[in-house]
């Protein structure tokens, strides 16, 4: 590395801002693009929640009527608590169901096997969720595959569609692969010596998980849970097609209000409430994830 070379390199890493045509060409286009197609829409939606609707036409205004109307409706609050509840249950269940699988992938298989497993788990995450949900609809139906199989051993038929079970299966179709990947990667990165040390000091397997593995994976696990919660909270397909939508979740409420009622401003109110809730939960989660005050953190 020559002197000139090093100088350039240092300039690159210094805090001095380099502004020229080159750097701006690379940096600026996306700012405009995101302002136009991301910040613009979101801010406009916030503004829209104050608009009025008269004779099925939206009028620009600054009134709080949509907010007061929505907040005074019982069905809105029922839906709000129900969505929080079902997304919470979904997160809890997915994290618990995923854990043994991730544990196996992280500690009980070869690195090659793990790589292939993650390779496979990425595939469903990027393939049509809609078609997978429809497939579950047929599989879980009263005369579907699951009940047909159960009838051979004289069980059932169980009604799974239009219940919370249906909704949760749908949510898990979406979240389980992602959660397993995140949990596995987190646990695979734990220093194996720490686990071995605990084992050599006579720690029982259950306590190794509780006292060593889980505290060391705290950050990754909370991130996984946040993603799981966001995906469940915002999904309308599972509760609509598999859950039967008698108890509408907030996304279904948005859908109904927008599509049938032409009440875009009220849908915007619901959307904003959802966003604020999600940000609050993600914020609390991230603060917990990176906080140092965990009793087992001293090592």
């Amino acid at each position: 590395m020559g002197g000139f070379n090093t100088a350039l390199f240092f300039d690159m890493k210094s805090n001095r801002e380099i502004i020229n045509l080159y750097s701006l060409t690379l940096r600026v286009p996306i700012i405009f693009w995101q302002l136009l197609f991301f910040v613009g829409p979101v801010l406009f939606m916030v503004a829209m929640s104050f608009f009025l609707v008269k004779n099925y036409r939206m009028m620009e205004a600054f009134e709080f009527i949509n907010w007061t109307k929505m907040f005074s409706k019982n069905y809105f609050w029922d839906s709000y608590w129900f969505t929080l509840f079902i997304a919470f249950i979904s997160t809890l269940l997915t994290m618990v169901i995923a854990f043994p699988a991730s544990f196996t992938l992280a500690f009980r298989v070869s690195e090659n096997f793990r790589r292939w497993a993650i390779f496979l788990l990425i595939i469903p995450f990027f393939t049509s969720y809609l078609v997978r949900t429809f497939s579950w609809y047929v599989i879980l139906a009263e005369k579907g595959v699951v009940n047909a199989l159960l009838s051979y051993i004289n069980l059932g038929p169980f009604i799974m569609l239009n219940t919370h079970i249906g909704t949760l299966v749908g949510y898990m179709t979406l979240t389980l692969p992602l959660v397993i990947i995140l949990q596995t990667v987190t646990m695979a990165n734990i220093d194996k010596n720490l686990i071995e040390a605990a084992y050599n000091l006579g720690c029982k397997p259950y306590f190794i998980i509780q006292r060593v593995i889980i505290p060391l994976s705290k950050t990754g696990f909370i991130i996984a849970a946040i993603f799981c919660f966001i995906l469940s909270f915002g999904d309308f397909v599972a509760p609509f097609y598999l859950g039967g939508s008698q108890e509408p979740t907030l996304p279904i409420l948005i859908l109904d209000t927008t599509k049938s009622g032409q009440q875009w401003p009220r849908a915007a109110v619901v959307a904003i409430v959802m966003m604020v809730t999600l940000f609050a939960i993600a914020f609390i989660g991230i603060m917990t994830a990176y906080s140092k005050s965990f009793k087992n953190d001293k090592r």
Binding site: F38, T127, W136, V138
Partner: protein
């Protein structure tokens, strides 16, 4: 020791069961697409190509397929370009408000699709852009650019920072370095990102449904069919959709894994 083996067996069996759960809907969708029953169940009916013939003769589905191909191929180009620029800016420069800059790019996928869909619908109607294929493309590029950014950023991480400086020392301008050093180095990541963003765009239904108007894409057609009734056509369309996105995702992964392994050596 035997106890440990016993646990091992149970855990592996559990893992297998989880994989079955994850891949069951994909597998049955494909199986049912060749099944003659109107309401598919076990035992299976006869082998039949009925549903494929039906969709093959449906002009609306053809149009949707063309729309989907247009939308996802333009989206992947825009998203990869934007993702590359952001990844490079993040890799090479420090600047004021970089945190905000990165948040601006990375946030969209964390917002539920239904909310983005509503916001897009309202905004695009306001600026007179709704109901066209372009509306879907713009929305999808915002949604998928972060994926492109993440993949390309990982690749840039592996690049020796002296490589760029060496090229400048040898008299190459910044632009020439970009063209002859950085872009070739990032090529596998760029291909990965093109495939992955195309796959996401190809499968996205919420935003497409809200902003597409009459220009329906394949997922929107599926959504509309599913709303009506049980119709095994969906399985036939779904099988096509699966194979398209699985091919794209696997191609992306092969390129990704190839350079990941090379990077380790």
């Amino acid at each position: 020791m035997t106890k440990d083996k016993f646990y091992n067996l149970i855990l592996k069996f559990y893992l297998f069961f989880i994989f079955v759960f994850i891949f069951t809907p994909i597998a049955f969708s494909i199986i049912f697409s060749f099944n003659s029953q109107r309401f598919p169940t076990i035992p299976l009916g006869n082998f039949s190509l009925e549903w494929y013939i039906k969709i093959f003769n449906d002009a609306e589905i053809w149009q949707a397929a063309i729309n989907s191909v247009i939308v996802s191929s333009i989206t992947c180009l825009i998203a990869t370009f934007l993702g590359f620029c952001t990844a490079y800016s993040d890799y090479r420069y420090r600047f004021k408000f970089k945190g905000i800059y990165l948040a601006l790019v990375l946030l969209p996928p964390t917002i539920p699709l239904i909310i983005l869909a509503l916001a897009m619908l309202a905004w695009l109607s306001k600026i007179g852009m709704s109901g066209q294929l372009w509306s879907i493309i713009c929305a999808h590029s915002v949604l998928t650019a972060p994926f492109a950014m993440a993949i390309i950023r990982l690749r840039l991480n592996q690049m020796d920072p002296d490589l760029e400086a060496a090229s400048w020392n040898l008299g190459g301008s910044e632009w020439a370095t970009m063209r002859n050093v950085i872009l070739p180095y990032c090529k596998p990541a760029i291909i990965s990102s093109l495939c992955l963003t195309a796959a996401v765009s190809f499968d996205e239904f919420a935003i497409s449904w809200f902003v597409s108007g009459l220009n329906k894409t394949v997922p929107v057609i599926i959504l509309e069919i599913v709303q009506g009734n049980i119709d095994p056509q969906v399985n036939a369309i779904g099988t096509f959709v699966f194979f398209t996105s699985i091919t794209l995702v696997i191609t992306a992964q092969i390129f990704f894994l190839t350079w990941q392994m090379k990077g380790k050596k």
